[in-house]
Symmetry: C2
Subunit: 545 residues, 2 copies
């Protein structure tokens, strides 16, 4: 009837008298002030009594997106100007440092009863951008991500506007298919020619947790139902250089951090296979049950790659699940020149790989890949919620991937990588990786040439670790006094660089090594002048120490 | 020296002869073709040999964001037009249904070696939007989220452009402070006048998992290190109506799904406290160790609220951690009229609450709140990664909140709620909640009036559950034949509504009930005409069945 009504009124003139016969019907369906399906001339809104329930008028929408069009236009202009162009401009600061208490005041954080005007909100947007760290700045070298990929940014904003969730094809048709395509391509690069399975997660730590849980389920599916209280002591192995998410996983999953056996690494940060073998034997002799090995392809601090072939041999002998945490190092798989770093990765049972790191997809974009093709992932994770994964749907429900996840709603992160890849192609992604590693090489060579700089080790990947020794310490002999004094240098230089805002480079202590800088080279927005700048600037900031 | 050089060249004329002395220096520092810190006249780029490492030229950036400005402008225009205005226009379709195999072809998913032109990428953006479900459409009633909040969208896009991570104040100064402010406000609404602790996570399932793990840690901190293999059988309690993430948590955390004791609910979906008490006793008599109760405030299907006061009493008696999954129902806390639904929530030890549901923050925005103020959350989750959480930082490291998380990188989701709240204020948020519940009330009353519609139960919240009985079945007596035939009706109507694209309403079976529709009423973009439309349309689509 509503359709009929619309047709009838379309031809009518705008006078309220002529509308009268329809208005009677109109009242009946209580549509009179509904803007959205208005059948009357919008210039002459029809007045009628509001439909009230519990004291609330229900006629019409109370929020119309079109009213926000100006605001959206203006805020998008601010984002492009301040958060994209200015944030990535090398002539601007990387950060506008304020101490927490001062920044709290500046931001006026309090949430109040009354809202603010649009112009106030626009100013809040400008302020939030201004006082944020510009991780997309060419001189941000602080984390394992950097730079801005405009294509990925656009994909992100599409996702934010559409508010999809990747659990079912029904709600996320485009994004579930895109995820599948990206996973397949990544598995091809891993070398699983027959494909496999996988899922995108909220970050690499989550992907590593998925691996530990899946390996455990593979080892003993009953644990899913029965829990660990009746199980033997399960033990997993990882190198001392691994990411801390492996310990977090063990704590979270009820395995216990003490059951993470840390395998010694050599001085370049690589797991020592013979030490792994020994630890496995030790665990067995203790009556514990080994079930997996985590190998790291690209460690967080040193950028080291564990020897995957040898580790895979050991896993094969002892029937252990091999997971490769390639969150950081996975990018090398796209490079003919550097993929040798991950030689043997095709033998892994599972792989974690974050395209939001060197592939530069927007945050977060993290894939968990599984070689199994028998549905292990689904069996391990499924809870079969009947309100979401109905079995009597009218399409092939194998496209409903949400039951492989520990999340319910899940962001379609793969799209951010897919659109980027479509735009630049595999060859350019490869060139970027090659260039990042060449840049790291250049930086390391430069460090070796410069007085007062000392390379921690030759970089294998894009992590360049080094000390800066201020002139006052250069005469000291290599010994405890030097190292204890040196330990205090990096934090001060870091403080100064933050306050100046000229660049950001991380530092940390590491096992028995005093605080050193770890510079991460990723973004094609940076050139060798930026490498030179970093070394000049560290010297400028620290020469008086 | 670089600074000096800049000063020297600033005063020079543009002739290459005059530049020569500087060029010699210039070559030395290999800056000659670096666009970013160019010291020569940009109109006359100085030619010099590229600095090559491993066959890669390192001079200058290879990607300049300014080159993408046009593309960004154009794609933002497409997003505003197609993904915002058109997507939320009631006259447009909610979805443009294509079966998976056909959509795969349309999208051309393959990832190739070569990139595509910007115009092709813009077309891909249009296509991705076109074939996506418009969850922000006024007639999308399919999930526990709906509608579009322009302010939250802007906040999301700021986050996407800036690429922050919320682990440290150093990298996310604005966003760590904002998270703290939002958590405090939410805790105030929960009724924890003394504050507490908390963290934003990637969705409500994750927040519920945090709760189970934290309750376990509180019960026995040694499990973090030692694991569960030596622990007694731990048991938790939740109602049969709870979200499936509780079972997922038990599986993932090594507790086991069988150790989730499902407490019967009454016919309105509320946990029966006496049944909880009995189950606790039963578990103890079996030698198991109860450690927590999960109460649900707003169940997924029926929208029921467990009786928190009575459950809190029982938890008190048995010394059990009380977690309230208020992911969906938490919004009522902002309403003076409806907060009674959660009476007693202040007695909970932890609460999960998703502002991305009825508060309409963009996806995802999920808070996990903890009443403890002694640092339990941090102790439970910390792994103290030395490369991230350095102890010798120059600011108060209590602002580095990342060690409370199981993630490493973490999106600053609180900002999406904060900016929205700043813009509309608590009073408008309250009015929206009141209106959504009044709208659900209206819909339920309308269902009771209409022939062929049957309400499953009176709604307590914004879930309206009902059957549509086609004319052909209306003469059947209430019995197995009717219900088995009715079971097949909703899936067919769902298929038809997807193919027409007029609206989206979910359906599911539920315990022994045949498939019924579950309509979720949230967005202020919908009015009562949309409620009427849904009922008319279901009849139109199903009357021939």
């Amino acid at each position: 009837m509503q359709q009929l009504l619309t047709q009838q009124t379309q031809g009518s003139s705008k006078g309220s008298c002529i509308l009268l016969p329809y208005l009677l019907l109109f009242f009946k369906s209580d549509n009179c002030t509904e803007g959205q399906s208005s059948m009357a001339d919008p210039g002459h809104p029809v007045k009628c009594s509001p439909v009230m329930v519990d004291g609330v008028a229900l006629n019409g929408p109370t929020v119309n997106i079109l009213d926000s069009e100006d605001f959206l236009q203006q805020s998008m202009a601010i984002i492009l100007e301040d958060a994209v162009k200015k944030a990535t401009d090398v002539k601007e600061k990387v950060c506008e440092w304020r101490p927490p208490e001062e920044l709290k005041e500046l931001l006026d954080l309090e949430l109040r009863d009354e809202g603010e005007s649009e112009s106030q909100i626009l100013q809040r947007c400008r302020d939030a951008i201004r006082y944020s760290v510009k991780t997309t700045h060419p001189r941000f070298f602080n984390q394992l991500f950097a730079g801005l990929e405009p294509y990925s940014l656009v994909a992100s904003c599409i996702v934010e506007a559409l508010k999809p969730s990747a659990y079912t094809y029904e709600v996320g048709p485009v994004f579930t298919l895109v995820e599948d395509a990206v996973l397949r391509k990544m598995m091809e690069l891993v070398g699983w020619e027959e494909g496999g399975d996988g899922i995108f997660n909220a970050g690499g730590s989550m992907s590593n947790m998925y691996a530990v849980n899946l390996a455990r389920y593979h080892h003993c599916p009953d644990i899913k139902q029965l829990g660990l209280s009746a199980a033997p002591r399960l033990v997993l192995f990882t190198s001392q250089e691994c990411h801390y998410s492996i310990s977090k996983a063990a704590a979270f999953l009820g395995i216990g951090t003490k059951n993470v056996y840390k395998v010694p690494s050599d001085e370049s940060g690589k797991m020592i296979p013979s030490a792994l073998e020994e630890l496995i034997k030790k665990a067995k002799s203790e009556g514990a049950v080994p079930f997996m090995v985590n190998a790291t392809a690209g460690t967080t601090v040193l950028g080291a790659f564990d020897p995957l072939e040898e580790i895979a041999d050991i896993c094969g002998e002892h029937n252990l699940w091999l997971h490769v945490d390639a969150c950081w190092g996975g990018a090398a798989l796209i490079s003919k020149k550097h993929k040798h770093l991950l030689k043997g990765i095709h033998r892994a049972n599972s792989v974690a790989w974050n395209p939001h790191k060197m592939m530069m997809a927007c945050l977060q974009c993290s894939a968990f890949l599984v070689r199994d093709k028998t549905g292990l992932l689904q069996r391990c994770y499924s809870a079969s919620a009947s309100y979401l994964f109905q079995q009597d749907k009218f399409y092939d429900i194998s496209f409903d991937t949400g039951d492989k996840s520990i999340q319910c709603g899940r962001k379609p992160d793969a799209f951010k990588f897919w659109l980027l890849w479509k735009a630049v192609g595999a060859r350019q992604l490869e060139q970027r990786v090659d260039r990042a590693l060449a840049m790291a090489r250049y930086l390391a060579d430069e460090i070796k040439k410069r007085e007062g700089f000392r390379l921690l080790m030759e970089p294998e990947y894009a992590n360049v670790c080094f000390w800066y020794i201020p002139p006052s310490l250069r005469q000291l002999e290599d010994g405890p006094e030097l190292w204890s004094k040196l330990h205090t240098v990096a934090p001060v230089i870091k403080e100064r660089m933050m306050k100046v805002g000229s660049m950001m480079v991380g530092y940390q202590p590491h096992s028995d090594r005093a605080n050193f800088f770890r510079m991460i080279v990723i973004s094609p927005q940076a050139g060798k002048a930026d490498m030179d700048f970093v070394l000049d600037e560290i010297h400028n900031l620290g020469k008086d120490l």
